[in-house]
Amino acid sequence: MTSRPLLVVLCLPSLIAIACADPVHDAAVEALGGEQPGVRKGPDHRPGQPCLTCHGGEGPASFQMAFGGTVYAHASGDAPVQDATVIVADAKGRTFQTTTNCAGNFWVPAKAFEPVFPATAAVMASGFSAAMTSIINRDGSCSSCHTAEQTQSSPGRVWIYPAGKDATPAHCVQMGDE
């Protein structure tokens, strides 16, 4: 093989990779930043972040979710609620129920539940419950809309307890705890 065809063969995969890249998605992933110190990649990581940015099928995570989010005790603050029950229901009336972990994180595996939008969701814990007043039309990342602060564009976190009711302290096993 002469040098020119060889060059083409070598460059082709790079060109294809560049053509297939989605700079918007790449920027969204990068904007999430690195892992929290002491927290390994897995079910406890990145509470409060939009899960489907990475777990929505475009990577980089291989495990895909239909929905994912974090339940907090209150609209402000970072206290998660462990063992909260989360129920999502789709337009066909099908439901999927799951439970939050020590980080307050929950997820609905895409393989287990393929929702038909619009969907809605409700959370229950310790005798308290909260249901979405709006509907989910397409984004399974709760934190895309439920950000840390209440603004014109966000109702605030997914939260469940009234003022005065504190969350039971939860502790996730971190690197170095084992």
Partner: protein, 190 residues
């Protein structure tokens, strides 16, 4: 440049300048938008449509956010007033209905005016109708199938006579909407 050429050059420049500086009121086609008038209750004729769009199109993950060209404000999505939050207040405000109105008529002003002038004839010429019906590529899919209450609501607006019953029927009813978990911020809309 000789004196004669200089004069000719100046005249040509002035002629071009004059051609570009006509009175816009004389040269622009008049736009006839659907009526946006106050009606009983202090709201607007668009309010029933705005409520329907709010629920079906204006959620925060769709057109109720800054990333969408067809920007809709309302209770299910982004709020117009800085002091308001999604879900609180629980209804579309009058100011939001007006903003939504301008969003919709501003999408294709000329075609909107044409459809309105023809009393709502062939509304499928409008992108917003095509998208809602799923007749044109739309990330949200078919939101208002042709002939549905939502479709009747939207299309009626372009005829100049909002079909309020269809708009109401297309909205989730009070009993289906959970009690909002909202505490109005100081200074938020009533």
């Amino acid at each position: 440049m000789t004196g004669r050429v200089r004069v000719a050059f100046t005249l040509v420049v002035l002629a071009f300048a004059d051609a570009c500086s006509g009175d816009p009121g004389e040269t622009r086609a008049a736009l006839h938008e659907p009526p946006f008038v106050a009606f009983d209750g202090g709201g607007s004729s668009f309010l029933p449509v705005a409520r329907t769009l709010d629920q079906h199109c204006g959620t925060i993950d769709c057109h109720g956010q800054v990333g969408r060209n067809l920007r809709l404000y309302g209770s299910f999505g982004m709020r117009l007033a800085e002091t308001d939050t999604p879900g609180c207040p629980t209804d579309v405000t009058a100011a939001e209905a007006e903003a939504d109105y301008w969003t919709v008529v501003g999408l294709e002003p000329e075609m909107t005016a044409t459809v309105y002038a023809e009393r709502g004839g062939r509304p499928e010429r409008l992108t917003v109708v095509q998208k809602a019906r799923g007749a044109q590529a739309h990330k949200g899919g078919t939101v208002f199938p042709k002939g549905s209450d939502g479709d009747a609501c939207l299309v009626s607006f372009f005829s100049g006579a909002v079909d309020a019953p269809s708009c109401n029927n297309s909205q989730r009813q009070n009993g289906e909407i959970p009690v909002p978990l909202c505490t109005p911020k100081p200074g938020s809309s009533p």
